[in-house]
């Protein structure tokens, strides 16, 4: 028997049926840091092709490493197999060229906080939106991973503002599968519905949230953290014991200080300041305990010291 015959499949189609791509078969992520890599991995895990953008080759290589580390962790926790990892990695492509987003029907901007200062770069993010509008088709959705930034503001200078929307992936507790979906002033219903569908496709819960600084998650968390710092400062209880009350007593997966260390103290300070600016309420003023850690550059897990002390793997030492 002769060897296998290999041909292209297209000519064997039956109908003239409109063969447009299914929704979200290819998506883009701008910035593949902590949150961007979470989004890329999650989407690829659900079968989507993902293109992520980083500034240069080095950034791309680091992002690949970050994604791989995430998947390896999942394998060591029994949640994934080596073969599945290969398939997922095969769906993810890194680039530093916006043109490579062409053909994506959904791109999420997730530029990370500045590594040292925790400052989110609004001007830069506006530029990203403009670049995206340049390369994407009119029907493609442009989203921003936001928590205190207002998406209407980011989208203001675009031509088609109805396709812009905000998303907030909660990334601080492993496998917390929920997104806050934040329509801006000009976001169309169609865009909102499609993004809800995206959430369902990646097997995430979602809640719609009115455009506001801090949304539900960040406001709830920061207030609790500030109060916990207050209790600490008054000498009423210890870091470990306050976390214990939350985990054992209230059934939280992890305590508020542990979560803060994972988020990064530098980021928390900026978030609190943003809320303080926006609402002017004292409850958002960063507690002196947080500021003390910030000034000492004890940013949490990333620097091995925050409310707790950590080893290189991020396990609590004390």
């Amino acid at each position: 028997m002769a060897e296998e015959i290999i041909e292209a499949i297209e000519r064997y189609g039956l109908s003239k049926r409109n063969r447009k791509r299914t929704l979200f078969s290819r998506i883009g992520v701008v910035g593949c840091g902590k949150e961007g890599s979470l989004i890329a991995t999650t989407a690829a895990f659900s079968g989507m092709e993902v293109v992520f953008l980083e500034v240069n080759e080095e950034g791309i290589a680091t992002a690949y490493k970050r994604i791989e580390a995430k998947l390896d962790k999942k394998i060591s926790n029994w949640g994934l197999t080596e073969n599945e990892k290969k398939v997922i990695m095969g769906r993810i492509t890194g680039t530093s060229n916006y043109e490579d987003f062409s053909g994506c029907d959904f791109v999420i901007e997730a530029i990370r906080y500045h590594d040292n200062t925790g400052v989110r770069r609004i001007a830069q993010r506006k530029e990203v939106f403009k670049e995206l509008e340049r390369v994407l088709s009119v029907s493609a959705i442009i989203a921003s991973n936001v928590s205190t930034v207002i998406v209407t503001d980011l989208a203001a200078e675009l031509e088609h503002t109805d396709r812009c929307i905000g998303l907030h992936f909660l990334s601080n507790v492993p496998d917390s599968q929920i997104i806050e979906i934040v329509p801006g002033l000009n976001t169309s219903n169609e865009t909102f519905e499609k993004v809800c569908q995206f959430a369902r496709m990646i097997n995430y819960d979602y809640i719609p949230v009115m455009e506001s600084s801090g949304l539900v998650s960040i406001r709830m968390f920061l207030i609790q953290l500030n109060e916990a710092c207050g209790i600490l400062m008054e000498g009423i209880s210890s870091v470990e014991d306050i976390d214990k009350v939350l985990t054992v007593g209230f059934g939280h997966r992890q305590g508020v200080f542990r979560t803060a260390d994972q988020m990064g103290i530098e980021k928390i300070v900026r978030l609190l300041e943003n809320l303080w600016d926006e609402y002017g309420s004292l409850k958002y003023k960063p507690s002196p305990v947080i500021l003390r850690l910030f000034r000492a550059k004890h940013f949490g897990v990333s620097t091995n010291r925050g409310f707790y002390t950590y080893d290189e793997q991020g396990n609590i030492l004390k």
């Binding site: 290999i6 078969s25 092709e49 994934l80 769906r91």
Partner: protein
């Protein structure tokens, strides 16, 4: 009459076109990686030539469209037009308690299959996608659903119930359903034909052992017990599934490894079994090679795999008060001569005796392995689920 058999998985569609009058395979193959990068259709023509068609195949409907396109194409096809397909038979994984036999697909049947999604969230949706696609592409062609679970619906309640609060059965339908039903039904029936025995008056055990594996106790043509349960993870140790396990281990591990439901499911379904124990592979050929190289864990994995099969055959022999026929089928059951020999030798206490030389050269064909002295007839019957699905489809469509 030409019947198209479809088996739709989450990212694959397997198909076979059969001419039932001549019993001839007109074309067979499968689409892989639906919705992913690198999707392709592999078609084997009637003359045996393999054809690979590469291109984007985003969903089941499109996959089936290409399958129909290839089957009717001048170059590789077997039929001239779609009108030559008289009926379509679908493999449907879970029929719950709603189906105890194959049925003609109607809107009501579809609704009932939809209702079973709760207990088969991974399998029934792609099966339904196949049914919807045919509805659209071949609207006038009758379709039949053949369920993996239907054959086992004859089990008595004391065999299918679990020892947990009864309210969980009424609330969620938690009970043993069993799987591989089409295979167990085909090989048991075929074994009786092959041996010239009366199917309605024979006690038999069928061992479908491959990467997925289950054993079935069949009394007078009816399944009375089977090793897979509410899901396919129960029973024998398999390629990557643990099989029977102490529930205490599950809760212990959830606590110790701090993992939740989906991770636990992956652990016992994908990281366990022969792969998990050996650390090498889920494929028995790799395990055999590793044993030859002196790998101890590969040997352990194989010992466990075979021991579990022996245990199940022993317990089902008790359940049936003795057996007349033992059937081996499935990839390992049909081809793994050493395992077959070891299992049969370990059953000597119940009068099983096989011709070792014959066993050593028998692979993938119907053979009577037992000696005339053996109290139990031991046979290999290669499984043919597609043929069974086509046969059911033919019968139902003709009755219509």
């Amino acid at each position: 009459m030409n019947i198209l058999v479809l088996n739709c998985g989450s990212s694959s569609v397997k198909y076979k076109l059969l001419d039932m009058a001549s019993n001839e395979e007109l074309g067979t193959g499968g689409v892989e990686k639906i919705g992913m990068k690198g999707s392709f259709l592999k078609h084997i023509r009637r003359d045996g030539q393999k054809v690979i068609l590469k291109g984007e195949i985003l969903e089941h409907q499109l996959a089936i469209e290409y399958i129909l396109g290839v089957l009717t194409s001048e170059k590789h096809g077997a039929i001239k037009s779609l009108e030559e397909i008289d009926a379509v038979g679908h493999r449907v994984v879970h029929g719950g308690e709603k189906f105890n036999s194959s049925v003609l697909i109607t809107d009501e049947v579809i609704q009932r299959i939809v209702e079973c999604i709760d207990i088969a969230p991974l399998h029934n949706p792609p099966n339904l996608a196949g049914i919807y696609a045919i509805n659209e592409l071949l609207p006038s062609v009758p379709q039949v659903a053949v369920f993996d679970t239907a054959f086992h619906q004859t089990m008595p309640d004391y065999a299918y119930m679990y020892g947990i609060p009864y309210s969980l059965y009424t609330k969620y339908g938690i009970r043993r359903y069993g799987f591989h039903g089409t295979s167990h039904r085909y090989v048991s029936k075929r074994a009786c034909e092959f041996l010239g025995m009366d199917y309605s008056n024979t006690k038999m055990i069928t061992a479908h052992i491959g990467n997925g594996a289950s054993v079935c106790a069949i009394q007078n043509g009816k399944s009375v017990d089977t090793s897979m349960g509410f899901t396919p993870v129960e029973g024998l140790m398999m390629g990557t599934r643990s099989g029977d396990i102490d529930l205490g281990i599950v809760t212990f591990l959830m606590e110790k490894e701090m993992i939740g439901a989906s991770y636990v499911s992956t652990l016992f379904n994908k990281h366990s079994g022969v792969l998990g124990v050996s650390g090498i592979s889920s494929d028995m050929r790799d395990i055999e090679n590793a044993i030859k190289d002196g790998n101890e864990r590969a040997r352990l994995a194989l010992d466990m795999y075979e021991y579990r099969i022996k245990k199940y055959i022993g317990s089902y022999t008790a359940a049936l008060n003795g057996i007349d026929v033992l059937v081996f089928t499935g990839g390992v059951g049909e081809n793994q001569t050493k395992s077959r020999q070891k299992i049969c030798e370990s059953l000597a206490f119940m009068g099983v005796e096989i011709d070792k030389e014959l066993n050593a050269v028998s692979r993938g064909k119907e053979v009577l392995l037992s000696t005339p002295n053996s109290k139990v007839k031991v046979v290999i019957i290669p499984t043919d689920e597609e043929f069974m699905i086509a046969k059911d489809t033919l019968e139902i469509v003709e009755k219509k």
